[in-house]
Symmetry: C2
Subunit: 563 residues, 2 copies
């Protein structure tokens, strides 16, 4: 019988094992897991720490007993694989409880070791009060710290709130922050970049900075931890800026690195960023060894380039594909699109495909538009606005990426656009998609249609757009700058705040006041979100003016400006 | 200059006008609207009646003043077009206030009259107490009736609750019912079909029957109103079953008919169901006359057949396309997929593409699967189950339709599958789609992936399925019926209710108890939702048994059985 050995028994590994069992009732399947439990919900760890998930048992998605009984898997927890012996087709393992070491033979090996929290060589980072959050033991430590008010701090009375420094504002850092605040812990968030959630584009994320501050988070952007100094009573985190933040403990969430040591030692090919290289069947350069999940390098589904995108969905599906291929099926992984979402204080930020940052880096031509629609019909109570950015090819309109931030319905729109990307659809297709509409759920023209309308209008030349950065430069210069700035909002909107140097002619009066707009200059029109600006742009263009619309209007402008 | 005349100034008509203005600042655009207001939210009417939308003004999406000032449209409300004079290229109109009649010339005419509530020739249906809900005046009438407790009833004290009979349980009928209950009106719902929401498949909707009853709705399925008898004190609704329901008023919601009279009279071609026939540019057989919205016949985007699907999104997009074509653009309508959603008492029912009913009617080959996943990760608080049915081609796996019912996240999954249909994707594509995942929003294997896995497994022969109807027949026969019924749930699940004649062997014990399963018979395996049944099926198939899995498990079975 076929003997499959799997290193790592969580998202990728356990999924591969489960699928392998369904494909072969007879196969011998051994799962090695260093940690205390297989198949746990990594993604739930921050919420367990924060008390949102009350019971630790909930995190055990498929407990050992179920894997044994239902799937007939040979699960060996607290057992670490220490070496892959490709010649012998064995792995060397150590039982972490007994200390015993033995070799286990395989026909096929699945390497699913995941990625470990990156800890750069900063003085003091290995101290007891400097934690990270990857696995159950990490979560247990943090949980024990925060659930008892006052925690390990001896700095004050037991009622003194605890203080934490979270280093790194990627999605795990943000989730940790939210859950620390949930626990009443005074939280400082330090991030090297000038924004939280660096994979997103800055102007989309800007509103979250205010939100975090409103929730009491002390935000330290464009700064970094340089030294951790531990004392009996706490921890001092020395920042690059010179600031010293006193805390009870720190959580370092500055990214993950493929847990590739065994692979490297065994001569399994890894990419530049350390991920194990596989073919679409998840096979490594050793055809008997597969690699799945965070430890692998993936192909970006949009650019085709090699990259690292550590996400649970891809890990699960890759595990399934590896099992398929072992049993002679030709399932192929299609690459990772980078569809991701994070919730924080009632907001959601989601993205799929390429960001503007990545597009700039790759040099691919792109155009972008912003819309700020409501999640459902405005006339039905409870509608909330979202910001949606669509990135697309100026050549054929192909959708390249999208980002959305808002309270409700953000996940839905990004999922819909993720489908468009997967299907190779264009902005012209988005104009025509037919989505669910009743007033509680959407609009007759869904935000996705709207984004499609606007983007298609840009490509058709109906709506030439100018972006906030250019307008900003215009506003910063004197009034003879490149653009004449025309604000078509109402006077009261205008007086509540506008772009420096802009002239206000409300859309409703524009037809009668055309003489106030110069014919010999480029005109940048704007309104609150871009829609009235678009109508004014159409009007002006047809009357012979050189008009462009500020995409996303004053709303997007303010977020870009703020940076 | 181009002169465009539009008949009907709401979803299709107003959208066409708005787009036309953007495409041509100079065009003369006249909008005739019989009703008091243009551009109102038809879809919000039930919620205004129910008080969920408090202010009537909210229903006026683009009030007359805005259409005039912002869009420079010549809006003429309370003005009815009474004739289309194709030879002269004029329409004859009557000012409903002054009674004046005049002709208005057009270069291009857009016919956007919508659909009127169908009122079959039942005795008494034209009485004062028998209402329907299509437009603002209808809504005003109903609103006035229900907001004052006791309403027009003189049958008791002013505190006696009002009573209504809603005839027809399509999505408008259901929305009316919800809002009547919201107002404290005692509600009887009469529906000819044996289920509410007839466009959906019965087993998907079955759970809503219990929900409606739990909310106090008196449900009369497979029955119909035959006679309305009005008295001073109220209304008696005589049902086909013989039952007489006393009420204060009735609301008839038994579908709509294209408001096609002017078209027919003018010799504009209409289809069998009365809808105006157009080409993909929304042009009728008279190239100067376009038709958009509910008054048109549309092509089903999946089958290509002519059909009537009265929905707001299509009406809006068709209006936009007609305007495009008038100004020389080749925009084409792609047909209607039938993506629809309705909310009722905290539940949502959504669908896209073809239902099983329609598939049966068309004779297209299809297969189906059911899954009952949670809307988000089960380990995160607040997860709620949904039922999702996927219909697909057994030949190439192409997705043909989907339906979902649940509390949360139903709209998202149907929208995602609507995209798959639009893109011509298959169930194999659904296996690989990459959707947003964090535990509040979804699962690492999203319900859409799950439906894809199961459907692909069926097509690959990994998971032969049997459907509830067949199993039901087996259960009704003696124990030597076609299937040996194997329940692989736990003994406590089994004893709480099972299929008649089933034998219980929990999945966890199946490997040790194989001798209890006959080798010479077809075995129908089931569990609660289908997942353990699948694993048992895999196990049995590989051990030489003739096993099939009951798709959707006992959950789907119970809903089919109940009918
Ligand atoms: C706090 C947190 C929150 C997250 N939230 C999300 C989210 O919301 N959405 C999302 O998509 N993703 C999220 N992720 C990422 C997601 O969990 C990972 O992408 C996914 O778990 C990767 O699966 P994997 O199988 O590759 O690795 P893992 O799930 O990490 O499993 C690898 C396992 O291998 C074991 N192992 C490693 N080396 C050895 C060895 N030598 N011997 C034996 N065992 C070994 C490890 O102990 C580990 O348990 C989150 C991750 C974390 C840590
Ligand atoms: C109560 C209700 C709830 C609904 N809910 C939803 C929903 O949740 N989702 C969804 O997608 N759809 C919903 N709909 C359907 C949606 O409103 C229609 O599909 C859409 O409005 C059709 O647009 P239309 O322009 O074709 O017709 P309409 O919007 O009906 O507009 C036609 C207009 O033409 C006018 N008119 C007709 N004849 C003449 C004439 N001879 N002269 C002058 N004017 C004339 C009428 O007065 C009417 O105002 C709902 C409809 C109703 C009634
Ligand atoms: C749970 C785990 C062990 C995988 O087990 P699995 O059996 O593949 O589990 P799933 O619940 O995902 O079920 C998917 C399977 O059930 C089938 N299935 C699901 N619902 C079904 C239904 N109603 N009817 C029939 N089959 C069904 C699917 O087809 C699929 O089988 P296939 O892969 O052979 O096609 C693994 O995913 C895991 O350990 N997860 C937790 C860790 C993790 O993912 N962490 C990161 C996120 S927090
Ligand atoms: C409102 C109504 C008059 C249409 O007007 P409209 O100007 O087309 O309005 P919308 O709000 O839909 O805006 C869409 C337009 O704004 C543009 N737009 C939207 N947001 C934009 C933004 N942020 N930046 C630039 N342009 C934007 C779109 O591109 C589109 O223009 P296009 O069609 O030329 O591409 C018409 O749809 C209507 O009467 N609706 C109410 C009735 C109804 O639909 N009932 C049924 C449902 S309840």
């Amino acid at each position: 019988v076929m003997k499959i050995v799997i290193i790592g028994a969580v998202a990728g590994g356990a999924s591969a094992a489960a699928r392998a069992r369904r494909l072969s009732e007879d196969a011998e399947i051994v799962l090695f897991e260093r940690g205390p439990e297989p198949s746990f919900a990594n993604c739930g760890l921050p919420y367990y720490v924060g008390g949102k998930i009350e019971s630790r048992d909930k995190l055990l998605v498929a407990p050992t007993e179920r894997l044994r009984q239902r799937y007939r898997l040979d699960v060996r927890t607290l057992t670490e694989v220490t070496q892959i012996n490709r010649q012998q087709k064995t792995v060397t393992v150590r039982d972490l409880q007994s200390g015993d070491t033995y070799d286990e033979a395989y026909d096929k090996l699945i390497y699913a070791t995941g990625a470990s929290a990156f800890k750069p060589p900063i003085p003091g980072i290995d101290g007891e009060r400097v934690l990270s959050l990857r696995d159950l033991p990490d979560a247990d430590r943090l949980h024990a710290l925060v659930r008892s008010k006052g925690g390990p701090s001896t700095a004050g009375s037991p009622d003194t709130p605890q203080r934490v420094v979270v280093v790194g504002a990627g999605f795990i850092g943000i989730e940790v922050v939210e859950n620390m605040v949930r626990r009443g812990v005074e939280t400082t968030l330090v991030e090297l970049s000038d924004q939280v959630l660096p994979p997103w584009d800055q102007e989309m994320i800007e509103p979250l900075h205010g939100l975090l501050r409103d929730e009491g988070v002390r935000l330290r952007l464009a700064d970094s931890a340089e030294r951790f100094e531990e004392s009996e009573s706490g921890l001092s985190v020395h920042l690059k800026s010179g600031e010293v933040v006193d805390a009870d403990f720190a959580v370092v969430c500055i990214g993950v690195r493929p847990e590739n040591v065994l692979a490297l030692e065994a001569g399994i090919a890894c990419g530049d960023r350390g991920g194990v290289i596989t073919n679409p069947h998840m096979q490594t350069n050793d055809p008997d060894i597969y690699a799945v999940g965070d430890v692998t390098e993936v192909r970006c589904a949009v650019t085709g380039e090699a990259t690292q995108i550590p996400l649970a969905g891809p890990a699960n599906r890759q595990g399934r594909i590896a099992a398929d291929h072992i049993f002679g099926r030709d399932s192929e992984y299609r690459g990772t699109q980078g569809t991701a979402i994070v919730g924080v204080f009632g907001r959601a930020a989601a993205m799929t495909g390429l960001s503007e940052k990545v597009l700039q880096r790759t040099g691919l031509p792109f155009e972008k538009v912003y819309v700020h629609p409501a999640d459902h019909a405005g006339y039905y109570p409870g509608a909330t606005p979202m910001s949606l950015k669509l990135l697309f090819s100026p050549e054929d309109g192909k959708v390249l990426g999208a980002q959305a931030v808002g309270i409700n319905g953000v996940d839905k729109r990004i999922d819909v656009i993720a489908m468009a990307i997967q299907a190779g659809m264009t902005v012209y297709d988005l104009e025509e998609v037919e989505l669910c509409y009743a007033p509680q759920f959407g609009s007759a023209k869904d935000p996705v249609n709207m984004a499609g309308f606007v983007a298609a209008g840009v490509l058709r030349g109906d709506q030439p757009v100018v972006h906030a950065k250019e307008v900003h430069e215009s506003a910063m210069g004197d009034s003879s700058g490149p653009y004449f700035l025309l604000d078509v909002r109402t006077p009261s909107e205008f007086s509540a705040g506008h772009v420096d140097g802009a002239v206000n002619v409300p859309l409703e009066q524009l037809r009668e006041r055309l003489e106030e707009v110069p014919r010999d200059r480029d005109v940048a029109v704007y309104c609150k979100v871009g829609q009235r600006g678009y109508m004014a742009t159409r009007l002006l263009m047809q009357k012979g003016f050189r008009a462009k619309n500020l995409s996303g209007g004053f709303t997007t402008y303010q977020n870009v400006d703020a940076s």
